[in-house]
């Protein structure tokens, strides 16, 4: 079959070739196109081509650019001549991607490819129409040479004063056809000239292979140790940040995200810098462990509780996977150029974030022996992905990834760890569970009122301790300090002094120092000595027998009295009521105000609010003539218009048929009249629905209330509410 187009070419491909195209370019079959013609259309559409080109490395891209520059059809040899012999190995790959195709004459590319690659590919201008004597370029005059030198590597356009009066150098070039006038002020260097001057090449430097990643070699054992330390630290940080917010939720900014002050607070709490604190918060957010609730509070979710129950490896995987796939870049927080970018806020999304992160990690993974330096990592990444859309590859993003990978423990001392490699390979990372330090279940209490957990504490013990002691130092171990206030906190949470002592004695490997026992006993003794509560009124009497008598009086049970001191009772009713009841039972109480002053006799009372006199209805002021006249005028006009309305209405009624028409006021009058005088009479009403369509209903009115009529509708037999304003008219049946 003769190949006349890209579609024809695709039709001619066998299954294997098509499968290879689809493997490289999955977008071609999502969704599956109906036929080969539409497949060809999609494959040569700009977005799809752009995607395919994005996946090329520097060398492939250079070859492709050269292919596009050549006139079609072209041969592999031509391509190799302009690049390097090894291009011959690249071309099949481009064909497999469907970026080039072969017909009987040679190679071609899909037509849109040129547009996708841009106008001036590799800084080359358009081809010249004329036949050029390129040999002459070897003996170019000095002035002209300067012009050529400036233009040879692109951009191929040059600006001159006036095309009609160019300088000598330009004039010579124009004469020879080595420059083409473009418009009044612009000249263009033709493609052939540039390629000739570039030494029959297209690109200045050809990087046929990936630049190697340089870095410092590290001892692999130390890498594992550092990585596991990072992992355990990151898990601890996450837990701490969320526990911190569980107690004192931060509030989100109005523009979304975490405010600077809250960020400072957590960074201080964790003892890390702000960018690290922002990152921890961001990862927890991505993993769904915290959320911003409708009241704009930043709070841990139930997911957090579930997360806490999981094994360390599962916990770590949750965090790392969320980070790996995310398009958000917490590294942008707090930079000079992006002051308003807040963690957890809406402005952290960057489209190239995830792909850059993937690329960086894969490079780290490939160079698993060394801690790469950022520059070589960047140049290597740049070769692998030369044409990243949306701003290209950013060095910053790579350094963010490297930094964050270290925090997370994917790397240790900058080198990818076993766990990181396992994660990238999709493993379950279970070796973490065995390598993390074993949790300890005991503490060492010392006589300076500190307790030390010589390792990560078991969760329950840690929680209980956090209740009764303040954390003084964190890390592999935890130092707790007992103080009056920390013990009190435990007591406030319902522990008793004895329980605290028992817990500590059980948990501590060392005997409990005596001063701590005393401290706990002292605080427990004092705790709750003062009691505070609410009550409506009190009854006090210096005669405690009378108090006892009142308490025993069955008639006073209604008051719900409780004795809080030998001479004081409290009562749930307010003072006036209590006094009335006491009086009715024959006691002689006297009132007392909040300052203890006796309120004697019937009190002369004053309102506490400002005076608001009611509206006055009474005689009206006499009106002057002008007012009366204008009133009359208004009345007449009103009458006229209302008669007109009424006439119109009658005409309308006739036209509409039997639907009654009354104004809202008339309706109300009629309805209340019927309700009062003929309560059981059925009425006919017109009632407008939501869309303004009027329907005719037969009803039994039941009640008028709050602008509505409640009535039984005959059609449905149900009691229904009709809004007066919607009733277009009412008439007796």
């Amino acid at each position: 079959m003769e190949i006349r187009s890209f579609a024809d070419y695709l039709r001619g491909l066998d299954d294997a070739a098509l499968i290879s195209i689809f493997t490289y370019r999955p977008d071609l079959v999502t969704p599956v196109p109906p036929d080969i013609a539409s497949l060809a259309a999609r494959a040569s559409s700009a977005p799809s081509l752009a995607r395919a080109i994005d996946a090329l490395n520097q060398w492939q891209l250079h070859v492709l650019e050269v292919c596009v520059i050549l006139d079609e059809p072209f041969s592999e040899k031509e391509v190799a001549a302009l690049t390097d012999k090894s291009a011959l190995f690249v071309i099949p790959g481009l064909i497999e991607r469907g970026l080039l195709y072969a017909d009987k004459d040679g190679l071609r590319s899909p037509t849109t490819l040129k547009d996708v690659l841009g106008n001036e590919i590799a800084g080359l201008g358009p081809a010249s129409m004329a036949k050029l004597k390129l040999k002459k370029l070897d003996e170019v005059p000095a002035a002209s040479k300067k012009v050529l030198d400036a233009m040879v590597w692109g951009p191929p356009r040059g600006t001159i004063g006036d095309i009609k009066k160019p300088g000598a150098g330009v004039q010579w070039l124009l004469d020879e056809g080595f420059l083409i006038p473009f418009n009044q002020q612009t000249v263009v260097l033709p493609r052939e000239v540039a390629i000739y001057l570039r030494g029959n090449k297209v690109h200045r430097a050809i990087a046929t292979s990936q630049p190697s990643v340089e870095g410092v070699k590290r001892d692999s054992r130390n890498v594992q140790l550092a990585s596991i330390a990072n992992i355990s630290t990151f898990l601890r940080w996450t837990e701490e940040i969320l526990n911190f917010w569980a107690q004192e939720p931060a509030s989100a900014l109005r523009s979304g995200g975490l405010g600077v002050r809250d960020l400072k607070e957590i960074s201080l709490h964790l003892g890390v810098d702000e960018s690290c604190a922002a990152f921890i918060a961001e990862v927890s957010y991505l993993a769904g462990l915290l959320t911003i609730d409708p009241d704009d509070r930043i709070l841990p979710t139930h997911q957090f509780d579930i997360w806490l129950m999981q094994s360390p490896s599962a916990r770590w995987l949750t965090l790392v996977s969320a980070w790996y796939a995310s398009s958000r870049l917490s590294g942008l927080v707090g930079r000079e150029s992006s002051k308003n970018v807040a963690p957890l806020g809406p402005e952290l999304d960057r489209s190239s974030a995830a792909s850059t992160r993937r690329l960086t990690l894969s490079l780290l993974n490939e160079n698993s022996e060394i801690a790469p330096d950022i520059d070589s990592l960047f140049s290597s990444a740049l070769w692998l992905a030369p044409l990243k859309r949306s701003g290209g590859l950013q060095k910053d993003y790579i350094s963010f990834t490297v930094r964050e990978a270290e925090w997370l423990g994917i790397t240790g001392q900058g080198v990818i760890s076993r766990y990181g490699a396992d994660f990238l390979a999709g493993g379950d990372c279970e070796s973490i569970n065995g390598d993390l330090p074993k949790p300890v279940d005991h503490i060492l209490i010392q006589s300076d009122n500190t307790a030390i957990a010589p390792g990560p504490l078991e969760h329950e013990v840690a929680q209980e301790l956090a209740l009764i002691a303040d954390v003084e130092s964190r890390g592999g171990a935890t130092v707790f300090r007992f103080s009056e206030s920390s013990i009190r906190r435990g007591l406030d949470h319902g522990r008793t002094g004895e329980e605290i002592s028992k817990f500590l004695a059980k948990t501590s490997k060392t005997p409990m120092p005596q001063p701590l026992e005393y401290l706990i006993a002292d605080v427990a003794k004092k705790h709750g000595k003062l009691r505070v509560g609410n009550t409506a009124s009190f009854i006090r009497c210096e005669d405690s027998t009378l108090i006892t008598q009142i308490l025993g009086d069955k008639r006073l049970d209604v008051l719900g009295l409780r004795k809080i001191a030998p001479e004081v009772l409290i009562c749930g009713h307010d003072a006036a009521e209590a006094m009335n009841i006491l009086r009715s039972c024959g006691y002689l109480p006297a009132g007392e105000d909040s300052r203890g002053l006796l309120l004697s006799g019937p009190r002369i009372q004053r309102a506490q609010t400002k005076a608001r006199p009611p509206r006055v209805i009474g005689e009206y002021d006499r009106l002057d003539e002008g007012q009366i006249e204008s009133a009359l005028r208004a009345l007449r006009t009103g009458e006229k218009s209302s008669r007109k309305q009424s006439t119109m209405r009658n005409i309308a009624t006739e036209a509409l048929g039997s639907l009654p028409r009354t104004t809202a006021n008339e309706t109300l009058d009629l309805l209340s009249d019927y309700l009062q005088n003929q309560p059981s009479k059925s009425l006919s009403i017109g009632y407008a629905d939501n869309n303004g369509l009027v329907s005719h209903r037969i009803i039994d009115p039941l009640k008028l209330s709050a602008g509505s009529l409640i009535a039984r509708d005959h059609a449905t037999g149900e009691v229904q509410t009709f809004r007066i304003a919607r009733i277009t008219g009412v008439a007796a049946l």
């Binding site: 130390n222 140790l225 550092a226 596991i228 330390a229 990072n230 355990s232 630290t233 003892g271 270290e406 240790g412 001392q413 390598d435 330090p437 060492l444 010392q446 006589s447 300076d448 009122n449 500190t450 030390i452 010589p454 390792g455 130092s473 964190r474 890390g475 592999g476 171990a477 130092v479 060392t510 120092p513 005596q514 001063p515 005393y518 002292d522 004092k526």
Partner: protein, 549 residues
Amino acid sequence: MTDGPLIVQSDKTLLLDVDHALSTECRRAIAPFAELERSPEHIHTYRLTNLGLWNARAAGHDAELVIDTLIKYSRYAVPHSLLVDIAETMSRYGRLRLEADPVHGLILVTTDTGVLEEVIRAKKIAPLLGVRIDKETIAVHPSQRGQIKQSLLRLGWPAEDFAGYVDGQAHEIELKQDGWKIRQYQEHAAEGFFHGGSGVVVLPCGAGKTIVGAAAMAQVKATTLILVTNTIAARQWRDELLKRTTLTEDEIGEYSGAKKEIRPVTIATYQVMTKKKNGVYAHLDLFDTHDWGLIIYDEVHLLPAPIFRFTADIQSRRRLGLTATLVREDGMEGEVFSLIGPKRFDVPWKEIEAQGYIAPAECIEVRVNLTEAERLSYATAEPEERYRYCATTRTKRNVVEELVAHHAGDQVLVIGQYIDQLDDLSETLGVPLIKGDTPQKERERLFAAFRTGEITCLVVSKVANFSVDLPEATIAIQVSGAFGSRQEEAQRLGRILRPKADGRTAKFYSVVSRDTIDQDFAQNRQRFLAEQGYSYRIIDADDVFQGKF
């Protein structure tokens, strides 16, 4: 994961498990760069501070050694960021050096021009500098040697001082070891100081700091100015020097309120040095008028601010600071570092106790219950009077009486803050009292009588807090103190820490009123000693009366 004795925390504290087999070895290894913060019974806490790391650099340890040590002994993996931070901090020391130059006098030299550019632009530094000699060198006004060291430290670029010291007027001093021998740690301390040039030696009370001073003098062999806290201490220094060195009475002068002698070895009090006459410090000239080869600061944690200022001007003289604790309640540790010098020697109290050089001590807090009436008047007392009230309650008197009676055979000191309380106690107990207005002669007579055992009990005010050598005192009863001062508590305990001939345990009683701020202050006061490993036992006053303690 190794199973080392050390846990490195992310907040730069190091926890050392003392019960671990390697703990002694590890302690030795980390001591040069980490500062011992607390040493209670099981886990000691060290802290990595910038000053500590710079101290280590000054002593010739490099970052690699520090990092290796941490990794070697650490039980868990050491946070990488911490190691980076250590290396970074340590590299800051010594990038700038002060050197003597034959042409320009004093110069600031750098190995890192960036740093020099940074510091010469600092507002505080610029006025101290002279001409720029070349890219890496700039002249410093010789008079500003101390000032520039202080300012550079504040900027975080501590300068290493290689400008050397003036020898001072030579004076032959030797240790006279007849019938006694300098202890090993004292020798180490003196050597550590001498090789470092200037610096601070930290030793517990009663561990023989005077001898370290004497040994240092014997190394320097030059005229020496010794600054002490008060006259009693001055006399004790003199006696000690006469006993321990070849110095004779004619060679030692006292410069105090009473006498103004300037001799090859002159002992001056802080008080006289900081005395103002017509608004100027009249006696500060003492530093200058004589060509001192060594200046010793006793109790450097109490060094008053004017002395600091003057010390800044005498940076070319060797300086030795002696103290039991570098804790300054005013937080001027940085000044001590830059002006006196880095810490040259430090050892935990308990270790010296274990070697038998200071007496083991038992600390007991006796809680007395206020009577109902006392409780009531305490509750209604003005806030500023409260401490005084609860610290001086009469109930305490009975307890003190009982304690003194119980320890009838021992040498007992009763120490307090409030004079009327002490007067009262002295009267009740029928023992002499030493307070601020006790004449010098009388004081000395009483102390001498106490030392010989003629008197077995003394009531003393805070004048006896420092540097009073009462080797035979075995019991101290503290009835009141300067609120919550931690170092006062330590000093007072120090009074009874001289090793006893029969190896007896010293007892330190602190009588405290229950449920008052006296108790709160006591808790604060005890913190330093608890951190040094002295655990307090709390007993009730009733136990005292029943003899159950």
